[in-house]
Structure formats: C-alpha cells, structure tokens
Amino acid sequence: MSIDIKMAWRNIWRNPRRSILTISAIAFASVLLVFMLSWQFGSYDTMINSAVKIHTGHLQVQARGYNDKKSIRLVVSDPAAVGNVLDDTPEVAAHTCRATAFSLVSSSERTYGVMVVGIDPVREAGVSTLKKMIRQGSYLSEDDTDQALVGELLARNLKVGLGDELVVLGQGRDGSVAATVVKVKGIYRSGMDEFDRSSINIPLKNFQDVYAMRGAVHEVVALGKSLEYVPEIKKAVAAGIEDIGNEGHLVVLDWMELMPGLIEAIQMDLYSGFIFYLILIVVVAFSILNTFLMAIFERTREFGVLLAIGTTPGRLSKLLLIESTIMTIAGIVVGIIAGSLVTGYFQVHGIVISGTSELMRQFGLPERMYPQLSMLSASIGPAAVLVITFLTALYPALKVRRLRPVEAMAGI
C-alpha cells in the first residue's frame, strides 16, 4: 500500500505544472462552494430570525382555523393556561399573547382599514423586535391603556404624529361595535413596507375591553432558545395543551406553518443553488478529466512494462485512483482552507451588494450581509467535488485494465 502511495505521489510531481493546474481547478470550485453555501445559510438564518422576530415567533398556539381565516371569533379563551404550559417547557425562552382585529382607524383627515393588534407591552418586548423598531416617541409601558404604536408608513398615510388622536372603529368578538380613541405614543419602522403600513399596536388589556374579548386572545406566541429547539417545543406544547383539556380546539403551529412562503422560498433558493453548483462541478470535472486521461495516453509504455513484470491490472487502477484522489484531496484541502479564510473575512466585515438595500429590507434583511461558516457549509460543497471527481477518475482508471502488455510496450 505504502509503495503505491509513494509511486502515486511521485507520478503526480513528474509534471508539476499540470498537477498544480488540476489542483487549482478543484480548489477554485471548493472555495466558491464553501463561500456560496456559507452565504446562503447565513442569509437564511438572518431571514428566518428577522421574520420570526417581526411576525410570528417560533411557534404559536391558536384556535383551529384562525391562521387561515383570522376571524375574531376563533380565540384562545384561556391564555393563562397555555402560558403555564409554555412556562413548563424549558426550551421556551419567552412568550406573549396577541389579539388582532381588522378595524377602521381614522385621524382628523384620513381613514384607513388596518389590523389593530393588542400586545402585552412587557412580554412582547421579549419575543419581538417591536420595541427596538421605535423610531419616534416611545414604546408602550405596562400601565398604558389608550396609547398606540403606529407604523411609519401608516402614520404618514394617516397624517398623524406623536400625541395625535386616532379613532378606532371595529367589530367586537360578540358582534358589538368596538370603538375607542387612542393617542399615538410611538412610531415604528421595520423596513418592510407591508408591515409598516398595515397595523397599529395597542395594549392587550385595552384591546380586550374594546373588542369584548372576555379575557381571550388570538395568538399565544413563543420564542424558543434557538431555532433547533422548535420541533421539540412543538411536541411538548402540543402534549401540554392536550393535558389542559383542549379537545382539539387549539393547535400549535410552528414558523414554517405560519409563514409557508418563507420556507418554500428558502427551499427554492437552495434547489436553484444546487443546480448551479452541480453544473459548475461537472464543468470542472470535464476540465480535469484530460489530466487523468493523460495518465494512460502518456504512460502506455510504462504501464506495459509494469504489466509485463507482473503488476496486476487491478493494482494499476488502484495506482491511478490514488493519484487522482491525492490531487483531489489536495485541491479540496486548499479550497476549504482558502474558502474558510475568505468566508471568515466577510463573516467579520460583512458584504454590501450595492443597490439592493431596498429589496433586502422588504425581506427583513439588513443591507450588510454576513455569511455563516459552519461545518456543514464548509464540507458539503467540497464533498460533492470529491465524489464527482472520483467518478471522473474512474473512467481512465478502469480503462487501463484493458491494456495488453505487448501492445502497450510497442505503443508510443
């Protein structure tokens, strides 16, 4: 075995220029894949985290059917009991309750139909980034009642500023007219236009009074310690709400069910990435196939001699495969190291793609993006390169078995 490796190693350096070019081709593909996959994974993480923090939380407990219909009548009638279940689940980092109702909101000049969201000011701050998004005025405090937070675009559309009054007119849970007057206490901006022009937030207690909720809420929102815990939490919470006698009325939905578009868009991006990467690797494979093929073109005589002195064809194949594998591994190692360095650099400094900040904002992404190097992102691409180049190298390695000693020695 060791003699084979030694021979292979020497064979590689018989033509250093060629071997280095081949190794560079492999390293190039590996660097690119390490960087691109880290970039993709990094942006997915950012996207999911910001969407979770702005919109849904990691998971929610809702009345069955509420997620589709958003009807005010489909409520979680005992949020405290659900809250206890969440408190008993160790992986849950924070949770809060929300209630929503579509209502007409009027300023002195304008009227718009928006979502009025009742939030628990203290708990909400632990789950969502709403508090950090306040651009003017201040966030709701615990004992506020007739105060409201308004999205920046909605405030502009309504032509209101801090301290101005808004008349809210909607329909309560029991069908009664729900009407109240609130003062603008804070104006927030998420950067997502759709979000910033479609809702106002008022204290949950006030919401429950105005909309005759009788203590009920629409969503119990939970944030896990991290994304990985979500399936575990979901299972625990689903079991927990069965125990408190839910009888199929409540459901536990995770962020993927709450935002199916997000996860599908991520999958789409991944799939299309894979198509590009696969094609790239195949082009590289054909690019280096010639180097491997040369082994037989150039060394036919040599192989004839080796066969004549008793080397088995199997050993020749092995020798060739060792040669190509050493080159591939060299390329991959260089690729992983260089790729990690490049990725690491950008992971610290971030990347700004000019002219995209507006677009990124709408997906809840910051202008400066950071790739996320991980074991997975550093290994998948190079592993694929390894497999495909190995398959490429099989062809010449198997071909060599067909050589006949006499003809081979007579060849060039």
Partner: protein
Amino acid sequence: MHFQLAWRNIWRNPKRTVVIMTAIIIGVWSMIFLGALMRGISDGMVRNGIATLTGHIQVHHKGYRNDPVVENSMIDPEVVKTAMERVLPAGAQWASRVRVNAVANNARHTAGVTFVGIDPAREARISFIGKAVTEGRYLRDDDKYGIVAGKALVDKFETKLGRKIIMMSQDTDREIASRAFRIVGIFEAEMQSTEKQFIFVTKTAAQHMLKLENGISEISIILPDQEGVKQVADNLRAAVPSADYEVQTWRELLPLITAYLAIYDGFMYIWFIVVFIAMGFGIVNTTLMAVFERIREFGLFKALGMKPRWIIKEVLAESFFILLIGTAIGNVLSFLSVFALSGNGIDLSALASGLEFAGMSRIIYPAIYSHDVIVANLVVFILGLLVSVYPAVKAARFTPVEALTHT
C-alpha cells in the same frame, strides 16, 4: 496554413479534444440556458408587475404616489387626454381609473383592499383583469352595483357570486362613503396577494360613490414597444403641466422589480465568469499537454526556420477551433433546451407560496436575450484565446537543439 495545420493537430488526439470540447459545451450551455431561465424569471416578474395595473407609464396627480387618497385625484383628466393624443405613438393603449384604499366587508368579515373603478373596455386592453375573470362575468359599462373580486378574497369572506359586499372609503368631503355592491365576477391572478388586494367596479360607480364627478386617480398606458418607454414618458412629462401631474415609468413605479433586474444582471455575469474560470483550467491544461507532447515537432519547425510568431499563431489556431466548435455546439444545445421548454414553460406551482414570497410567476418561460448570448460567447472566446497564449508562448520558446534532444 496555420488553420489547416491546427485543424489536423487537434484531431491527432481526438479523445482529448472531445473531452475539452465537452467541458466547453457544458459551460456554454449552462451560461446561455441558465441565463435564459433567469431572464425568464425576471421577465415573468416584469410582465406580472406591468399587468397588475401598473402599465408601462402612469400619470397621477402630483402627490398621489405618496398619499394615494381621493383628494389627490386628477379633477380634469381632459388635459392629460389631449396631451396623450399628441404624444403617444400609434398603437398605444391607455385607461383611466379611480383607485383608492377602501374597506370591504360583509356580514362576517372585513378587510382592507384597493378599490379600483375601471372603464371595462379600455381596461381589458391594458391589464390582467380583462382575461382574469374565471367565474361569473367581467364588468359592463352599465354595472351600477356590480363588483369583481378576487378568488382569495371571496374565499376568505366565505361568500360567492351574487352575494353582497359593502365598500367603505373616504369621499371628497372626507366623509366615509359606503355602498353595497353585488359580486358579478370572480377573478384569479398570478399572485394570491393580487386576488386579495384588488376589487373592481366601474369607474362611474366609483366616481359616484366617492363624489368625484369626472375625477380620476390614475392613467395607465401600455405602449406597443417597451423600448421606447422612457422617451415617451419624457415627452408626456413635457406635455402636461408639471405643477399638477406626475408621469412615471414602470421602472420608477416598481422599484423592487427594477432592483431584482439589476441583481439578476450582476449574478448572470458573475456566473459567466465563474463557469469560464472552471473551463479555463481545462483549456490551459489541455493546450499545455498538446504542446509538450510535440516539443520535438516544434523544435524541428524552428530548426527548419519557422518563426516563433507562427508557432504562437498555430497553437492559438488550435484553441480557436476547439473553442469555435465547443461554443457552436453549446449554443445549439442551449437553444434546443430553451425551445423545448418554451412551449409549456417550467411549472413551479408546487412551490406556489414560496414563489409568492419571492414575487415570482408560477410558470417560468425561459427567454433568450441576444445580448446575453453575445456576452457569453465573447467571454468564452476571448478569455479562452487569452489563456491559450500561455502554452502558445511556451511552445514558441523551445529552442531547436533542446527540443530535438527531448524524447
């Protein structure tokens, strides 16, 4: 003579030539074909954006874009109409609309929507709604109380054809105007968000409800030829009083799509370069091999008096043929693949909510842009020849004596 020599040389080792050509073919194919797919996606976005009530050019009252309310209406659209008659090229279509935010409700549900009053015949020629009604019928000029709503909205409202929807919006007196309409048609659109957002009545009904008289919110124009959009918009801008009106092209009206287009452009050229680098290693290596194999031959040429310059030309001619055949076949294959898919397109409906999230159409029709094809071929060709200079120079430097003693 170089060419003849080069042509024969590349076929001395056909297997090697075929392998490197295959790399070039796959590379060129992937550049053009994946480029066409990306263009298909962005074309779909643009087409969808334009059809979803944007048009190529829009005219608004100044301030409507920032504050789309009934006060910012064009009270006297005749001014714009006369300007359009003068400026628009033959074949251009336009329609005027009332378009305000409103609240739709029925007994069970309430939602915020965009309430659009249209001129049924004109509108059908410029936006998606003319062909989108799948249940019931499209609006007629005399529909005083008819309304066309999107399928997603109708489902959400748990209602159906013939039922009532009450619309509420602020009128010109800043009072809440409300009026009951009956669903006469249900439309389906590319995006669910479109189905939920827009609700259509006749322009006269909307004007009546909002006390607008002849006022309108916007004029949308479709030109026969997309190329001239900017020019026409400039002409129109000059022809209407700039203190009262705003003229904008779809690129300004759909900034997100414009940003997407720029990203796609950038991404495509990066892809071209990346694929080329992957092929480049192979091209250099193969040409180097071909050269080193023939050291004796080149030595002999030189001993016979061939100038180094000719040797460079000869080696480059070999690369030229390999690149030529490779790109030609790559082009043909990519055209064939695009052609095969252009009929039915690539149906991605299975990922509908992901597409909706990303703003993409459900079916992608690959689109070949001659500009991309030219760039792809030029990149491969010019850079391909450029990297072949290195082995060619190597070949030209062999000294006759050294080379002839080489075995």
